[in-house]
C-alpha cells in the first residue's frame, strides 16, 4: 500500500539520517565550542505573538485553531521564536546571549528542487552584540562550522540591507515608489528596476547609480568610489571585514545588491553560496530592531543553514558533479574566488 504525505514534505530513512546526523553533530560541536547553547521552542506558536515581527515573505503559512479558538501557526523560522524567548525568559540577563538551534521550520513554498515546505534549519543567534563585532563573530562561527563539515568551495556574499534604501532616500526617489523598487531588487529583476526607476521620474546620474550599485559584487574594490549616501553602509562592511581572520575574510564576496525579503533585517546581510548547488545554502544578517518589538531592545545577528541543502552541496562537491561543477568552465569556479 502507498499512503501519501503532504507535498513538500518527506520521510528520512536511516542511511540519509546517518549522514544528516553527522553534519548536525559537527555543526553542534562548533556552535557549542563558540559558546552557543542549544535551545528548543515549540513548533506551534500564537499567531498574534509572531506577528510582532515583520516577516514579509517568510510569514508563517500554516495555521490551526486550538480548542479555545486561538490561532496557532507553524513557525517559519527560529529567529522570531528566539526573540520571544529572550524577551520572556531572559528579561534581566546581561547581554550578550548566545543560542543555537536545530529545528524544522515550515513555509508555504511551491515545492521544487531543494525547496521543501518543511525544512531543517541549523543556526545561531547572537543577542546583544552590536555591529561590527557581533557580525564578525557570526561570520566566523559560520565559516568554522562549514569548514568543520568539510565543505570546501563555499563563499559568503556580504551586503547591507540599509544601503539601497539609503541610496533611494538621498537620490530623491519618490517615497511612494520605494517599497516597490525594493521588492523588484529583492527579485533581482534589474530590467524591471531600471524601468520602474525611469517611471518614477529618475534620470541621469541618479538613475545610473541606482541601477549600477546593486549590481556590484566582488572583492573590496567594489566598495571604492561609492556615492556619499552609501558611505555608512560601506564603512560598516569595511569594519566587519577588517575584524575577520584571514581564512574567513577570503571567503567573503561583497554583494551590494543583497537585500532580504524578510522585513526585520536592518544592517549587514549575508548568504552562503557553493558551486555545487544552484541556490544559497543559508544566510543571515543583523536584526537590530526585532528584539525591541518583543519588549527588550537589543541589537542582534544570526544565521540559518538549510541542513538538506548543505548535505546536497557536500555530496555534490564529493562527486565533483554539483550544479555548477559538471560543466565547462567549472574548473574556474572551483579554483578561483570570484574576483
Amino acid at each position: 500500500m502507498i499512503h501519501p504525505i503532504p507535498s513538500g514534505t518527506r520521510d528520512v530513512l536511516p542511511e540519509e539520517t546517518r549522514e544528516v546526523r553527522a553534519i548536525t553533530d559537527t555543526l553542534r560541536g562548533v556552535f557549542e565550542r563558540h559558546g552557543y547553547g542549544e535551545i528548543y521552542t515549540p513548533a506551534l506558536e500564537y499567531e498574534s505573538v509572531l506577528a510582532r515581527a515583520d516577516m514579509a515573505e517568510a510569514r508563517p503559512a500554516y495555521r490551526v485553531f486550538d480548542e479555545s479558538g486561538a490561532v496557532l501557526v507553524l513557525r517559519s523560522d527560529m529567529t522570531v521564536p528566539i526573540a520571544r524567548v529572550v524577551a520572556t525568559r531572559y528579561g534581566g540577563t546581561e547581554p550578550p546571549m548566545r543560542f543555537c538551534y536545530f529545528a524544522h521550520c515550515y513555509r508555504g513554498v511551491r515545492p521544487q528542487r531543494g525547496q521543501p515546505r518543511e525544512l531543517l534549519q541549523a543556526g545561531i543567534e547572537l543577542i546583544g552584540s552590536p555591529a561590527p563585532d557581533g557580525t564578525a563573530e557570526a561570520l566566523t562561527v559560520l565559516c568554522h562550522a562549514l569548514d568543520a563539515t568539510g565543505l570546501k568551495d563555499y563563499r559568503i556574499g556580504l551586503g547591507d540591507a540599509s544601503l539601497f534604501p539609503a541610496l533611494m532616500a538621498s537620490l530623491r526617489v519618490p517615497e511612494a515608489a520605494r517599497a516597490g523598487l525594493l521588492e523588484t531588487l529583492v527579485l533581482r529583476d534589474f530590467v524591471g528596476l531600471q524601468e520602474a526607476l525611469v517611471e518614477s521620474g529618475l534620470s541621469g546620474e541618479a538613475l545610473e547609480l541606482l541601477v549600477e550599485v546593486p549590481q556590484r559584487r566582488g572583492g573590496p574594490e567594489v566598495l571604492a568610489d561609492l556615492p556619499a549616501p552609501a558611505h555608512d553602509a560601506v564603512m560598516g562592511l569595511r569594519r566587519v571585514h577588517e575584524l575577520l581572520e584571514a581564512a574567513v575574510a577570503e571567503r567573503v564576496i561583497f554583494d551590494l545588491g543583497l537585500v532580504r525579503n524578510i522585513g526585520y533585517y536592518t544592517g549587514a546581510v549575508f548568504d552562503v553560496y557553493d558551486p555545487a548547488l544552484g541556490a544559497p545554502i543559508g544566510g543571515g544578517g543583523r536584526y537590530d530592531e526585532l528584539l525591541a518589538r518583543f519588549g527588550r531592545s537589543l541589537p542582534a545577528v544570526g544565521f540559518a543553514l538549510g541542513v538538506d541543502r548543505l548535505h546536497m552541496a557536500l555530496a555534490g562537491e564529493e562527486r565533483g558533479t554539483g550544479a555548477l561543477l559538471a560543466r565547462p568552465g567549472a574548473g574556474e569556479a572551483r579554483s578561483t574566488p570570484a574576483a
Binding site: I253, G278, P328, G329, A338
Partner: protein, 224 residues
Amino acid sequence: MSPINGLTIAVPRGALFADTVDLLASLGLETEELRSNDRKLLFEEIGVITMRPTDVPTYVEAGAADLGVTGKDVLLEQAAQRPGEGGREVYELLDLGYGRCTMVLASKAGPDPALEALRRLGVMRVATKYPRIAARHLEETGRQAEIVEVKGSVELAPLTGMVEAIVDLTATGTTLRENNLVVREEIVLCTARLIANPVSHKLKAAGIDDLMAQLRGLPAGGPG
C-alpha cells in the same frame, strides 16, 4: 573553440533562436555547429545547451546553466503571483531588445462578445497558453473570468464558441487577422531577456560582468 568566459548559456530553440545565436556569434562564439545541427542539445565545447524557451528558467534556476535567454512572457508566466509564493529564482539582467511581441487580449471582430458575456453572464471565458498572466491581468482590471488553458492554436477557441476571448502573444497580428480576431487590449510588451543563476552571478561575477559589458557595447536593438 571555448565557452565565453567559461560560462554555460541556455539558448532557446524556436522564435528567439536565430537572434540569440547571432548575438552569441557577435561575442565571438563559434556557432557553426549550433546553427547546422538542430537535433543536438548539448554543445559542451562552446558552453551552450539548447531547449524550449519555457524550460530556460528551470535550467538556469537549478544551476545547470549560468545564464539563459528567454522571453519576458515566459518569465512573467513563471513569476510568483503573490509575494512569497515562490516564483523562479533567477536574476533578470538585461533586456536584449529582440523578439518583440505583445501580450494581447483579443476577441472576434464586430461587437465584443467578451463584453456581452460579462454583462449578461457576469463572467467571460478566456483561452490562453498563459493562464497566470491572463488571470492576473483580468483580476487587476476587475473582471471575472474563467481561464481555459490550451496548448496550441489559441485562435481556434473563440472561433468554435468555446470562449469569448483569448490572451496570446502576437508579433505582427497576422494570425489574429486571418482568424477574424481583433486586439481589444495590449497587456504587456515582451522582449528577450538575459537571466542568470543567483549563485553563478556571485561566483562567476567577473565573467558575467564582462559579457554584460560586451552586450551593452553592441549596437542597440540587438542583432538582425
